[in-house]
Symmetry: D2
Subunit: 246 residues, 4 copies
């Protein structure tokens, strides 16, 4: 059973009518709903409104995959929470950062760069092209899928060179964007996925749900543990290493 925690800022949906019309219970509820239908996935949610953002070391210890959506209130997330998330990823927890979470504190901590990107408020349509058709995350997609409307993200996207680019988006206005990027950091796998602006029903699109579902299974750890980097001492050839107790 893969234990997923869907985290959402949950502000637009409560403050803007047009967003509430699409996601009345919040983006997290929509994501939790389609993931919850899977036999091998169990879902909880947390939001910025919860105490300590709904995130503690204990909760992360019981989370296999954290999904993160945030946009207008990244700075309201305490640094300590961001550090907890980073540490859990380094231990092996999978993480999926959606859309504007490119500027979230945990993503920026893990990347080490500004994570800036070019953008344009638009109602451009987007085609997401599969670059790596055999990858477990894109396998159910044929050659591409379309979104009728999305906010336009453009290059440059100031991230470390991804381990793999799985999807590239092309917008009707002409821009392109590395829309599906994979990383490993410590024992953890990280997937950044670009679609999901709050004013479009992106998380109700079957292909988007399919990518997220696949990504949950791909980034879920089969192993989780702080990487041991012991302070060692060599004694003899027969008993070559001893861990030094402090």
């Amino acid at each position: 059973m893969i234990r997923v925690l869907v985290w959402n800022e949950f502000k637009h949906e409560r403050e803007k009518e047009n967003v509430a019309a699409i996601y009345p219970d919040g983006i997290h509820a929509t994501i939790a709903e389609f993931l919850g239908k899977e036999d091998d996935i169990e879902v909880r949610t947390a939001t910025l409104q919860d105490e300590n953002c709904g995130i503690t070391k204990e909760i992360l210890d019981e989370t296999d995959v954290l999904i993160w959506w945030g946009h207008m209130a990244h700075n309201k997330v305490p640094d300590e929470v961001a550090s907890l998330v980073r540490d859990a990823v380094l231990e092996g927890m999978g993480a999926i950062f959606l859309h504007s979470a490119h500027h979230s504190k945990p993503f920026k901590l893990l990347m080490g760069t500004s994570c800036n990107l070019t953008w344009r408020e638009s109602s451009d349509s987007e085609i997401l092209w599969v670059i790596d058709p055999a990858h477990p995350i894109t396998r159910d997609i044929d050659r591409y899928f379309c979104l009728e409307g999305e906010e336009t993200y453009g290059e440059p996207f100031v991230i470390p060179n991804p381990d793999k680019v799985l999807l590239i988006g092309s917008y009707s206005g002409g821009e392109v964007f590395r829309s599906g990027c994979l990383y490993e950091r410590g024992n953890g796998k990280i997937f950044y996925f670009q679609p999901g602006h709050e004013t479009f029903p992106t998380f109700k699109v079957p292909a988007v749900q399919s990518v997220i579902r696949n990504a949950v299974r791909f980034v879920a750890p089969t192993y989780r543990q702080v990487i041991a980097c012991p302070h060692v001492r060599k004694i003899t050839d027969d008993e070559p290493y001893v861990i030094v107790k402090k």
Copy 2:
């Protein structure tokens, strides 16, 4: 002085009127002309029509950067010529493969994959977006440049994961393509650059010329030598390694 050899299949230009109208002396002549204006570059050309394709070990030894264009006659290039090119790249010679040279024998030898791609005969326009704006190859380009017409290349493009993707093309029909890809193999640098279908005056476009000029300077070797992998023998601690003569 960077010594460039521009290799061209030189068949379309001699056999098809519409191509001859654009490149009356061949694509190689057009490329040689704009590169030849640079103070630090000297250019020679060779074509499939030359004896042994105009390529010998001696010629490659005197070549810093090989530029390759081919399309309909890849199989007319002898395997031995392709191997000579690969070996020269491994020693440090730079190589730039243009457009349909993705299916050329030397490129496929160096990549180890099929190098297949999806394509569409079209007169789509293309926007080439800069992914890495500080890279020496893209530095003179602002955020993007446009081509009025190009053959449409699409993903998947069956290449090894590039060391860096410098440019992504987006076509008016919606496709995207990793249009500028960097590799290192042995001591040599390799740049694949997608634009350049023979029915369009692509190699007369200033931004295309700028990318090729930059690429010549970037892939040119500062060091060229077969990587020595000696058969060694350890003698004593004072004289730890001796190369074993056969």
Copy 3:
């Protein structure tokens, strides 16, 4: 069930007494034996002595993971066999190249480089250090394991920059070597693993068996298919693409 084909040159074992003493039925038999004990693995073997090296397209179609050991007779393997192996890997077949298979034709075809390395005939002992302790291939190993004797391989090793280096070997004579290297080519995963000189009982060492067992499971395809790169035609917006029949 993972269908493994263990391929062995099988010459040293028949021609040299000291090798026959260690591997009386051949290296392939020893590998097949320990893999065959696993419930999820079924093993066949083939050797250079078999007709067409025991390798046809049909056999590879029924192979999930090919393991390859060769040393003194790489050139006896026909180019066609090497190409069949490469094509199967691009479709998704996993491949594990052991020790001196760094110079085998299929490995060199897939890498595109000389795959030369420095070496020393020695009876150095070797310590293999785990670089990526959470990786499925190294997970059962603690921090390192030791081999009492191995042929010394040294850097430079002229391979493309690996996707991941999982193990680095250090020899008692002081050399180091990238002993466990992962690649993806097309849909296929490739693992190069350095230990396994024919004059040492390396393939009887539990840690070596563990790495090979793990690697079989890791490189086994969950998906296998030629990557489709269709020639397409755009018709209308409603029916945007049609595959062009030739």
Copy 4:
């Protein structure tokens, strides 16, 4: 002229006699001395003892390459200083982190991982092997160089998969370590180099000086600028993009 700033914690040298005996004026002074002999390099130094660590935005704006050594007082460096360094690297400033600077704040910020490693207090000798003999950083080294004594660093080293591993160290106690690692982050190049424990005269060893000298030239920016990620607006096809003023 490459403007180098050598930063040193400068505590061991003032507090411990055995270190002061080797580096009476501090590690920074030794590094500044050998770099300062180069015609194309000009060197300044700064230490933890300087106001604000001797680091301001203005100083970094005039720095092409920052070299960092720190060990026992990483936490005395204010977070703001670490952020300034990271931002300068993203703009294009080169950075070289030496030895125990693996745990410095700026390096950890740029990597996004714990940067933990295994270690052993020892007086092991170390052999540093060249993995990439044609790289500008290792070019002057033959196959390897030796250090009579160094602190032993071991794997796992919890860093993102390097863009390139240029050097691997092997210690007389048997450990190995990825001793020369290259990264790019934003417009900046980063080189981590393992040798340099304060109790050994490592920075007086010609080969170590050669690697640092080469690295200064390699990571020095040819271009420095914040990567522009504008907020854009599309108007017409003729004038497609306008940067949105806030």
